[in-house]
């Protein structure tokens, strides 16, 4: 069964540094998402992406965040200048249609020191 894959599985970064989290969605999917889960808290929506542009973003997704689908297969989340509070598990998801389930990757654990 096709899967969403995320790399790296764990990223440790100094505060203020840039970080890029990478995702390969399921190949025929059209909608792409990033969520995050701070330890012990609920899963929170960050951003959705469709037709090569952001379709929706949350309050969390400020100017420090950006997403890109550079080559038709990868879907990346960039945090320009990381803060301690960015430490979380980041999940990528994709779906084939707006009424179809979103399929999640195993996540990238981001630790900001």
């Amino acid at each position: 069964e096709p899967e969403v894959t995320q790399t790296p599985s764990h990223q440790v970064t100094q505060m203020g540094q840039e970080v890029i989290l990478r995702c390969v969605p399921i190949s025929n999917h059209l909608y792409f998402y990033w969520y995050r889960q701070i330890l012990g808290q609920k899963v929170e929506f960050l951003v959705s992406f469709y037709n090569n542009e952001i379709s929706e973003k949350s309050e969390i997704f400020d100017d420090q965040f950006s997403v890109e689908r550079p080559d038709g297969s990868n879907f990346t989340l960039k945090i320009r200048s990381t803060k301690l509070e960015d430490s979380a598990m980041y999940f990528c998801a994709s779906s084939s249609g707006w009424n179809q389930p979103q399929h999640f990757g195993d996540g990238t654990r981001l630790s900001i020191l």
Binding site: L30, V43, F45
Partner: protein
């Protein structure tokens, strides 16, 4: 705003007994509801969804969920629990959507299910 609530942080069940994980929702319009399961160090795995149709929805691994409009609930159930069902379970509702938005998921806080032998 759309929201879901999972009133129990933890549910403990003996293996072989039926299990229920509760979820209530608050939406404007018709709800699109989902259940996901998360095993340690893994992503969320889709279990089942309710879009329309029968109120009893069957999903993966023998799970089912009952949509109850009058009680605004979407409880997850399984007739006979397995130790391997122990995991974190999330109820989610799809937010308002348009054809080009896809609709983000709004998650409950999660319920830790523990099935003991």
């Amino acid at each position: 705003a759309q929201s879901v609530a999972q009133p129990e942080d933890q549910v403990n069940v003996a293996e072989g007994n039926p299990l229920t994980v509760k979820c209530t929702y608050s939406v404007s319009g018709n709800p699109y509801l989902f259940w996901y399961v998360q095993y340690p160090n893994r992503g969320l795995q889709f279990l089942l969804k309710y879009i329309t149709g029968d109120n009893l929805v069957k999903g993966s691994y023998g799970f089912e969920a009952e949509f109850n409009k009058s009680q605004t609930s979407f409880h997850l159930k399984k007739p006979s629990a397995l130790v391997s069902d122990s995991a974190l379970y999330f109820c989610a509702v799809r937010d308002k959507y348009t054809d080009n938005q896809g609709g983000k998921l709004i998650f409950g806080q999660g319920t830790e299910l523990s099935v003991k032998p």
